[in-house]
Assembly symmetry: C2
Homo-oligomer: 195 residues x 2
DNA sequence: GACCAGTTGTATCGCACCGATACATCGGAG
DNA sequence: CTCCGATGTATCGGTGCGATACAACTGGTC
């Protein structure tokens, strides 16, 4: 139970370091994961509500602070992690189940690698790799069995898809090798977490 | 009005040459568009129902044919295009609006290129190209502005995303050049539509 | 100082789609 | 003969998306 969905995880991750408004969460997430995967408010706000209900985050409704006119203060709601949220994030970051290398989950998981320990990183990368290998198999299979009933365009589409997957795999191979040869610390790379 | 959604278009396309059952539709579509984009029954059947209601397709409920026992005949429903459906498909294939190069529509549109005239093909490819160019811009922008607040992993994710888009664009460039230098017929390539 | 456009910000509604699931029949392998 | 996997139709709950509405602050321009 308590299956943490991807969106929830992403939000937990983005709130790890500072409290943020809904709007900022959306922007940050969009920036970190690329312009694809931009989540809409239609998913964000309901998810935030769910998380508040579950006690993972809490909302701080920025009070007027002082004897300002009356009521006109603009509504801004900053969300921050609760202890429960922080715990859940830690649990989630330590896990490496199949749900870590699903198509839609992997990116989010990867973007949190800086806060994931080395062993888990490696397991996720390998899991993702093997998932993509299966896929490669499938596509190659289909492409071979495609002798009959094929026009040039659908064939080209297949070929292109195949290449995409191959490329993705070799990207993972690079990362995996990198992980293996690295000191194994929690925070590799030249950039020291930013101060 | 009468906005044809992608799924509807895909089905119209797959039924162009022969009537098929829901199950077969799903398999074919999955095979043509790759293992990604495999649509689930949860979308397929409702869509088929909608299409029947709209008069685009009709269902032929394979009757027992003869004095077979009683009722045991397995339910199999073959769907075929109506004249309206055929017309709609033709309209859709002749159009080349922004909805032709959306992320989710392009593949389907492309897989129907064998039945699309040369001018439309070119326009769609170019539309897709320019859409991806915009995206490239965005990502590059974000990557540049990423000096502050970046760990090695999110940076790598960005870099990888950037490369993906670049590759996609050069794939399109190849296709576009190919289109331009080709005879301009409706059915290029060595494969003669299959007999 | 008046106006207008763009950004920040919260929020909801309908719709389409996915994943899981249930059920039934058929062909073949053990 | 029986079990398994493919074929086949169908629905349900949940969830994410796109569009949209509303509101206040920000900054530029005449």
């Amino acid at each position: 139970m308590t299956k943490t969905d991807v969106l929830t995880l992403a939000i937990l991750g983005i709130l790890r370091d500072q409290p943020l408004h809904g709007y900022q969460i959306r922007k940050r997430l969009g920036a970190e994961l690329g312009p694809f995967r931009a989540l809409s408010y239609g998913s964000l706000y309901p998810c935030l509500r769910r998380m508040v209900e579950a006690g993972l985050i809490e909302s701080a409704g920025e009070e007027p602070a002082g004897a300002s006119p009356a009521s006109s203060r603009r509504a801004r709601i900053a969300y921050s992690l609760t202890d429960a949220g922080r715990t859940r994030l830690a649990e989630e970051l330590a896990s490496a189940g199949a749900s870590s290398w699903d198509d839609d989950a992997f990116d989010v998981r990867f973007s949190l690698f800086a806060h994931t320990d080395a062993a888990t990183r490696l397991r996720i990368l390998e899991g993702r790799r093997s998932r993509l290998s299966e896929r490669l198999e499938e596509v190659a299979e289909g492409l071979k069995r495609m002798h009959e009933r094929h026009d040039a365009y659908t064939a080209e589409l297949q070929r292109h898809g195949l290449e995409q997957v191959e490329r993705e795999i070799s990207w993972l191979d690079r990362l995996i090798e990198n992980e293996r040869s690295a000191p194994g610390g929690d925070n590799p790379g030249p950039t020291p977490t930013g101060h």
